[in-house]
């Protein structure tokens, strides 16, 4: 079983380089995701995250475990990025959600029209299929994961950032709002659009 954050933290404080490498393995990617939301360009984001790691090490003695390590680390990367970002425009318009990308979750043609006795309900041949009946290994197949990976990659940046933190890296809604400085409502809209988009891609792949 993977060591807990508390274990790793104690070992890092004792000067254990391998424990530090495990922390890097665990948190570098979500840190990069956050940094990219604040600064323009992958190279700058990498620099921000490396600076943030130095900040994490320097702050270790002061870190009192009142917040979780993962929350604290993301806050450091956000602060590091913001210090940098003073000179650069924020790369992702998180609060202005941007018109134009409010595509419906499901194609409106799949629902009954206003003249129907049950308007807004699924048309008989267009209702979602039951994925729980799929053969067990289908969802774990490399081609399925690759469909999902591409669907996430093609999302607008703000949506991609939120779905990556929530569903790939396992952060909570509160942690994401805190790290990205967005309201719970905006976070939810971004997550909704992102998950709806990925579901559509998965549906095209699975149901053909």
């Amino acid at each position: 079983m993977a060591p807990s954050d508390q274990d790793l933290l104690a070992r890092v404080r004792d000067g254990d380089a391998a424990a530090f490498e495990s922390l890097v393995e665990r948190y570098h990617r979500p840190m990069l995701t956050v940094a990219r939301a604040y600064v323009r360009g992958a190279a700058v984001a990498e620099e921000v995250v490396q600076d943030a790691w130095v900040g994490v090490l320097r702050g270790l003695d002061r870190f009192e475990e009142r917040s979780s390590l993962k929350t604290w680390i993301l806050r450091i990367v956000a602060n590091t990025a913001m210090t940098r970002g003073v000179r650069e425009a924020r790369s992702v318009p998180f609060s202005a959600l941007g018109a134009g990308d409010d595509e419906p979750a499901v194609d409106p043609d799949r629902f009954r029209g206003p003249g129907d006795p049950y308007p807004g309900h699924w048309l008989a041949n267009a209702a979602p299929s039951d994925w729980s009946q799929l053969p067990e290994d289908v969802l774990e197949r490399r081609e399925t994961i690759s469909v999902v990976t591409s669907a996430v990659a093609e999302l607008p940046e703000a949506q991609r950032t939120v779905i990556a933190l929530r569903d790939i890296h396992g952060y909570s809604s509160d942690e994401v709002c805190d790290a990205l400085d967005v309201t719970a409502g905006n976070q939810r809209v971004l997550l909704h659009r992102a998950r709806s988009h990925v579901r559509r891609a998965l549906e095209r792949h699975l149901d053909g």
Binding site: I168, H192, R199
Partner: protein
């Protein structure tokens, strides 16, 4: 809302539902719809499976140069 949502509303409310962001009455109305609508029950299951599958997306390997830089930073910190 409070009245039972239609299917085309369910697919837009699903995230608020899963996030626990619906009020008590809306939440009940939503759940009531799911109980009697197979299509929407399937849709919710599809979203759950989508979330689970996104969780299987692998991150890229971290470049060795980056690891070396960070270990160097760690040694500096330790000897400070």
């Amino acid at each position: 809302m409070a009245r039972e949502p239609d299917c085309n509303e369910v697919v837009e409310l699903i995230t608020a539902y899963l996030e626990g962001a619906l009020g008590r009455r809306d939440r009940k109305a939503f759940a009531r719809h799911l109980k009697r609508c197979g299509g929407c029950a399937n849709y919710v299951e599809q979203i759950r499976i989508t979330i689970e599958t996104v969780g299987r997306v692998d991150g890229d390997d971290l470049p060795q140069e980056l690891r070396d830089n960070l270990i160097a930073a760690f040694r500096d910190w330790r000897s400070a």
